[in-house]
Amino acid sequence: MSRVGSEPLRIEMRGITKTFPGTVACEQIDFELRHGEIHALVGQNGAGKSTLIKVLAGIHSRDSGDICIEGAPIDHLTPRMAHDLGMRFIHQELNLVPQFNVAENIVLGDPYPLRRATPLIAWRRLNRHVGEILENLGISIDPRRSVQSLSIAEQWMVAIARALYSRGRVLVMDEPTSSLSREDVHDLFDLVRALAARGTSVIYISHRLEEIFELAERVTVLKDGRKVATADVDDLNLSELVRLMVGGRPQELYPVIEADRAMGNSILRVNDLTTADGRLANVTFQVREREVLGITGLLGAGHNELADLLFGVGGRPVGGQMLLDDRPYRPRTARLAIARGMGLVPAERRSQGVVGDMQLWENVILAHLRRFIIDPITGIVHRRRAERVAREQMQALQIVATGAEQEVQYLSGGNQQKVVLAKWLLGSPRLLIVSEPTRGIDVSAKAEIYGLVRRLADDGSGILFVSTEVEELAGICDRVLVLRQGRQVADLPRRELSAHRIMEACYGG
């Protein structure tokens, strides 16, 4: 702390604002990083963490605000400059060359040591040099091992060693522990602490909040693109941190739902579902008519895998049983799932939800083409009828477009999502899976989509609402199932639902 006065900050960001068409990703965010500090950055999905980091990396240029590095103001930051200023970003992909060994990955991009007066690489010197560096960092990995044979934790260590080898002074780590075991996390933390002790500054992004208390000195909380707080970790506890992240949000965004509304018959029963790859283990639940069942968890917890599996586009179950309308259900393809009355609003809207260069009406009838075919042999579509239906849907869902013939890629995210919903509403599916339906969508469109989902449920469909946004889950679900590492850890009924409660279950609080 005493250093602050005498030394300039390593990084100082003031009033950073960055907008994208339709959304403000960062609004007046201040952030500072001291020398040798481990600073955690937390917030829900869409809070603005990754945008802020990308501004720092020079990938996004900021709309306004100042950035000073080592006290020197930086006008226009490019990725090259960020690299030259010693900033190193390690993402989950790690960016290692899988075919190379540890030593070659560590020198990647830097000059290899060469034999005197030749262009030939001095392999022995390289291995020795890298071995010394690893030893210095307390990493016991043979530099000649192939990185493919390393565990994920070891790969992280190699990525960190590589950042230091190339004279990195600021390390930004994005979710390093999401796929690590407890012991591995411990080793990784030892390494990060050792780096900080030598003066490297670390920005640590994680969804695992308990780790932040273990590792970081300070934490900055972002929410909806704004900074909520920067605090010393010692001044906070877990539930206060969660409260800062969740905050209070106006409730009118969500429709009113009675706690004990009557449900209909059971649509889907899942018993003891287990997949071969271990992503899901012993999952049991049922969805009834008129019910909105939320499914959530942290990154990689299994909720996305569950949605894919139910729609026939994911892994195969090896154990357990699924019954759809009391008949065995084992979808092998999406086509079979649709034939049984399933629908999916996928998370990747642009790549999986809509066909961007097709017109609006074509997208709307896509899942129910057969109904519009005049002649079964040529497959000619009754275009006038299809367009009329599409226009009805546009009106019903208030889709803003120039007409039924507009190409969907030119619509806003919210309107694209409504097109996807319209596609399924046309068939009134038995069970509709909606996956992250409001990601990257503005608030008013969100409210409309919540309304549509509820309306569909009121008409008798079952809804599986897969999302990682705890507030919307609390806002619109009748029940929420929380998964952690493929296992069901909570089944929360309506009257127990709150963003706070769900998040605690996600983190195992």
Partner: protein, 349 residues
């Protein structure tokens, strides 16, 4: 309990076999071919003379395929190698009667390297796929070669200096000069790819473009260099073709496209499975040469040779894919049995 531990031992053995055994499939195949042909034609096939003959026959293919290997290392295609070889041949036959041989050869090499440079520049600066770009240059060059030879009845053969032709036909200690060209080329490129910064960075570009980009590796420059080398070596192939045959015509290099791809992909199924490398390319070239030679000795008709060539390529490439798939499923299974992260069989050996 007992059953599952049994299963694990089996799994480990399978993994061992897959890891260590699968990589040598093509080498074993090559040895098998040699044994079979030697058995069928014991008096002709397994003789020093015939083996020298095989090497003589594959030399040009080896040179051309080595150039292609560099592009493939960076996961780029060069479909123009055959057409560049043709261009090199017709230009050699067309220019050598009028120029000093050394100057003429250098000029041809420069033109062919220039074609590679154009390929590389289009691919890296205009960001067109290498597949389409080189398909385009291939067509243009083929057209050019037809036009260039059309004045002389499509075949150029007159006035090529004797001294130049001796390069193609002569031998040192019974080993044809051309074989030395191949050996030198393969050696230089092997060292380049495996023991120089440039070569290792080429592998980094192919292995993980993202990692290469974040590491500040000059990807575009390396790719351009790869296409230049590929063009120059295809040109050298064309030059040596003329030296050997004493003539050039506008389809003379066509086969080198298909054959180069066949042998490089056979090579990628060898030893370092899934990676292109010069040793693999040499193995692939030897397989091709042995098949061609053995079939000729056995009087197998040409059309059947083509059928076998294609079938072998598909078999080698799918088996490499199959092996990798098996490997993956073995790893997955060991992860499932042992989710702590200890990868079981891997470090057992």
């Amino acid at each position: 309990m007992d059953r599952s531990s049994n299963g694990r031992v089996l799994t480990r053995r399978l993994e061992y076999f897959v890891l260590k055994g699968g990589r040598y499939g093509t080498v074993l195949g090559l040895l098998l071919l040699v044994v079979v042909f030697a058995g069928l034609k014991p008096s002709v096939f397994p003789t020093a003379r015939n083996f020298l003959n095989i090497f003589n026959q594959i030399s040009l293919l080896g040179i051309c395929a080595a150039g292609l290997t560099i592009c493939l290392v960076m996961r780029e295609f060069d479909l123009s190698v055959g057409a560049v070889a043709t261009l090199g041949a017709v230009l050699t036959a067309g220019w050598l009667p009028h120029l000093h041989p050394m100057l003429g050869v250098l000029a041809v090499l420069a033109v062919c390297a220039g074609i590679g440079l154009i390929n590389g520049l289009i691919i890296t600066t205009l960001r067109v796929s290498s597949f389409m770009t080189t398909l385009g240059t291939m067509t243009v060059l083929t057209g050019f070669s037809y036009w260039y030879t059309s004045g002389s009845g499509a075949i150029l053969y007159s006035g090529i200096p004797e001294g130049f032709l001796r390069v193609g036909k002569g031998a040192f200690l019974h080993v044809p000069y051309i074989v030395f060209f191949m050996i030198a080329t393969l050696l230089v490129l092997h060292v380049l790819l495996n023991h120089t910064t440039t070569g290792r960075r080429m592998y980094a570009v192919g292995g993980s473009p993202e990692a290469a980009r974040f590491g500040g590796i000059p990807i575009r420059r390396l790719k351009i260099l790869g296409f230049v080398l590929s063009g120059a070596l295809a040109g050298l192939t064309g030059i040596l073709l003329v030296a050997r045959l004493g003539l050039a015509e506008p389809t003379i290099g066509d086969r080198f496209l298909f054959d180069s791809f066949t042998v490089t992909f056979l090579g990628a199924a060898s030893i370092r499975v899934g990676q292109f490398h010069i040793v693999g390319t040499l193995i692939g070239t030897l397989i091709m040469g042995t098949i061609f030679n053995g079939f000729t000795l056995l009087d197998v008709p040409y059309h059947l040779q083509l059928v076998v060539q294609g079938a072998i390529l598909i078999a080698a490439v799918t088996s490499a894919g199959l092996w990798q798939g098996l490997l993956l499923s073995v790893r997955l299974r060991s992860v499932r049995e042992n989710p702590r992260g200890d990868t079981g069989g891997q470090d057992a050996e």
